[in-house]
């Protein structure tokens, strides 16, 4: 008896010693950090990373809202959520003096209207949403527009990313509206158009849209630029198309929730991810574009000239960046739920 209780005591003490160290709790998108980056961060700073992932903005927001901003030290919302969360007091102001790598970021992606002065968010990655085609099965030249996905011949064939704003982007653009429309009539038109698209949908995916393409389960549909690049690394037949109505563009940023308990470590984490070397690795591995100017100079030739990662200016001009749509978001969400529930 005595010995066993001694062992238990020893074990408990040991585990407290082991786990009492510094930590930072990160809540990031699935498949959104390069391999080994967390371990390298821990090695460099001695800070343990507790890491978990989400696969859509809404889930992350709901959890933070429910926990009143507690439980995480770092979250990675898209632009439209940054302003919303800031206004609702869910975000902590970021202390720029603690970010020595901040100067690495390029000016063009800073100080946008969703967060003037980047007081609450530091851009991590940006990218586009376009169309993926498996050129072995479908002629990529035959697909040029979002509208092509509505063709009845694709019945039960398409992949859509499970993201309300991006699905509506297709339909809004197809009808000539802004992706940031707050006009209920326009949103309704888009909803009705998406209803017509639903019979063509085989699968909604948000954790790793490239997987069904690589597995050969779908050959056509939506994809994120980074996922497209990762898919191409494994299978060059998968082509990425910028639809002529305009691709969707978004920025995902690091933010610190108002209830974060490890503020100091959260700043260290952001700073680490912004270092040119880590940002370079992030771009090369994930295939999303980086706001990090220093890293852009470091990346290899192949990456720098890859239009999927760094699209030409005219493609960006034709596309549209996501912005906060305020209360209209609720309308979008309700329609989206109905679309997915409908047969």
């Amino acid at each position: 008896m005595k010995i066993s209780s001694l062992i238990v005591t020893l074990f408990l003490t040991a585990s407290t010693v082991l786990y009492a160290g510094e930590k930072v709790v990160v809540y990031n998108w699935a498949e959104y950090i390069p391999e080994g980056a967390l371990e390298a961060f821990t090695k460099e700073t001695g800070i343990e990373v507790e890491y978990s992932t989400f696969d859509n903005n809404e889930t992350m927001y709901s959890k933070l809202k429910l926990q009143k901003g507690k439980g995480y030290d770092i979250v990675v919302p898209s632009t439209y959520l940054v302003s919303k969360m800031r206004d609702e007091g869910l975000l902590h102001e970021i202390d720029h003096s603690k970010l020595k790598n901040l100067s690495n970021l390029s000016i063009s992606l800073m100080n946008k209207e969703y967060d003037p002065g980047n007081k609450y968010s530091i851009p991590y990655l940006w990218g586009s949403t376009g169309i993926a085609v498996n050129s072995k099965e479908i002629d990529p030249a035959s697909i040029t527009a979002w509208a092509d996905l509505w063709d009845p011949k694709w019945e039960g064939k398409l992949l859509l990313v499970d993201d309300v704003r991006e699905a509506f982007h297709m339909a809004l653009k197809k009808n000539g509206f802004s992706t940031n429309s707050t006009n209920p009539d326009e949103i309704k038109t888009a909803y009705e158009d998406l209803q017509k698209l639903m019979p063509n949908v085989r699968v909604f995916n948000a954790d790793a849209p490239r997987e069904p393409y690589l597995a050969g389960d779908v050959n056509l549909g939506m994809i994120w630029s980074g996922e497209a690049k990762m898919a191409q690394d494994e299978n060059p037949d998968i082509k990425y198309i910028f639809p002529k109505e305009g691709a969707g563009f978004w920025i995902d940023s690091f933010a610190i929730p108002s209830g974060a308990e490890n503020l100091e470590n959260a700043h260290k984490f952001i700073d680490y991810m912004m270092s040119a070397e880590v940002a370079k690795q992030t771009v090369e591995e994930l295939g999303y574009s980086t706001p990090n100017g220093e890293a852009r100079d470091l990346v290899n030739e192949e990456t720098r000239h890859n239009p999927v990662i760094f699209p030409p200016a005219e493609v960006i001009d034709k596309g549209e960046f996501q912005k906060d749509v305020g209360d209209a978001m609720q309308l979008y969400n309700e329609y989206w739920e109905k679309l997915k529930a409908g047969k």
Partner: protein
């Protein structure tokens, strides 16, 4: 009813009371209170900012009858019902064979059935994706053997959802059935045999009625969770073949319409309670008659 063994229990009286108190406390805190909260939430007014606010309204309940959700409801019910029937058809003979086997083999087979449970069912569901995909094991075999010239679309269909649900839930059907078969008195079957009952008559009038409690219990334990396993529908059904669990999850996490999600949950609990009640009635009838008669349930 087992014979009362009061003399044995008496000295343990305080212990017994302690156990009962703990159980009630546990059930109260973790079952009753959350359910009351869900029930209250279901009659509040939805508010995306504060999740749910006063005043009390029945709007969320009315929305349950929106044709859209009624359709999802029936689809989900259908998926779960098919799953239950398949589990029963597979599980019943399996449990029967298992009960007939000598002890060692029985143990081994039961063990083999339970082993996959040591792996998280989410991971096993991902594995099914690999098996059912266009380039998965099944299609490679079908195409390779020349049975089909093109891969059959299995993944992201209702079939895949049912396949996944059956795989995950089969043991829950088998275990109550095995215990039912264990309790089955062999003498009754032999007596029936001696009295000239054929194979079918013995099954129909002796074995089936006596194992009916296992059948009903197994069906309940399979049917109810089958309606809630949202991740199976998400992964294998491509988030298109929704179960009630998906609707509830999305109402809470995506739309943030808590009252509606809560109303959906309460409705699901209501169905469960109704089924449990039927089970209770059936059990009472079995106890009264010493077995179900020809009409069965």
């Amino acid at each position: 009813m087992p014979p009362q063994v009061k003399n044995l229990i008496k000295p343990l009286f305080s212990f017994r009371r302690g156990v009962i108190f703990l159980t009630l406390f546990w059930l109260g805190l973790f079952v009753l209170v959350p359910h009351v909260l869900v029930l209250v939430t279901s009659v509040l007014t939805p508010d995306p900012q504060h999740l749910a606010v006063w005043p009390v309204t029945l709007d969320s309940w009315a929305r349950l009858f929106d044709p859209l959700y009624v359709e999802v409801f029936w689809h989900s019910l259908w998926l779960s019902a098919v799953t239950t029937v398949i589990c029963l058809l597979l599980g019943y003979p399996f449990a029967w064979i298992l009960a007939k086997l000598p002890g060692v083999w029985r143990g081994v087979l039961l063990f083999l059935m339970i082993v996959p449970f040591w792996t998280n069912s989410l991971i096993r569901t991902y594995a099914i994706k690999l098996i059912l995909g266009n380039k998965g094991l099944v299609n490679t075999l079908l195409v390779g053997a020349g049975i089909t010239d093109k891969p059959v679309e299995l993944l992201y269909t209702p079939f895949a959802v049912i396949f996944g649900l059956v795989y995950v839930l089969l043991p829950f059907m088998v275990l109550p059935l095995v215990s039912s078969f264990d309790k089955l008195d062999r003498n009754l079957i032999e007596a029936a045999h001696d009295l000239g009952a054929g194979w079918w008559q013995r099954f129909r009038h002796i074995i089936l009625p006596l194992t009916m409690p296992g059948v009903v219990a197994g069906c309940l334990i399979v049917f109810l969770p089958a309606m809630g396993m949202f991740y199976v529908a998400d992964l294998l059904g491509g988030a298109k073949n929704l179960l009630l669990g998906n609707i509830i999850k999305n109402q809470f996490l995506v739309v943030r319409d808590w009252p509606f999600g809560a109303a959906f949950s309460v409705a699901l609990i209501g169905i469960m309670a109704a089924l449990m009640w039927l089970y209770f009635l059936a059990n009472q009838r079995i106890n009264r008659q010493g077995g179900l008669d020809d009409e069965g349930i």
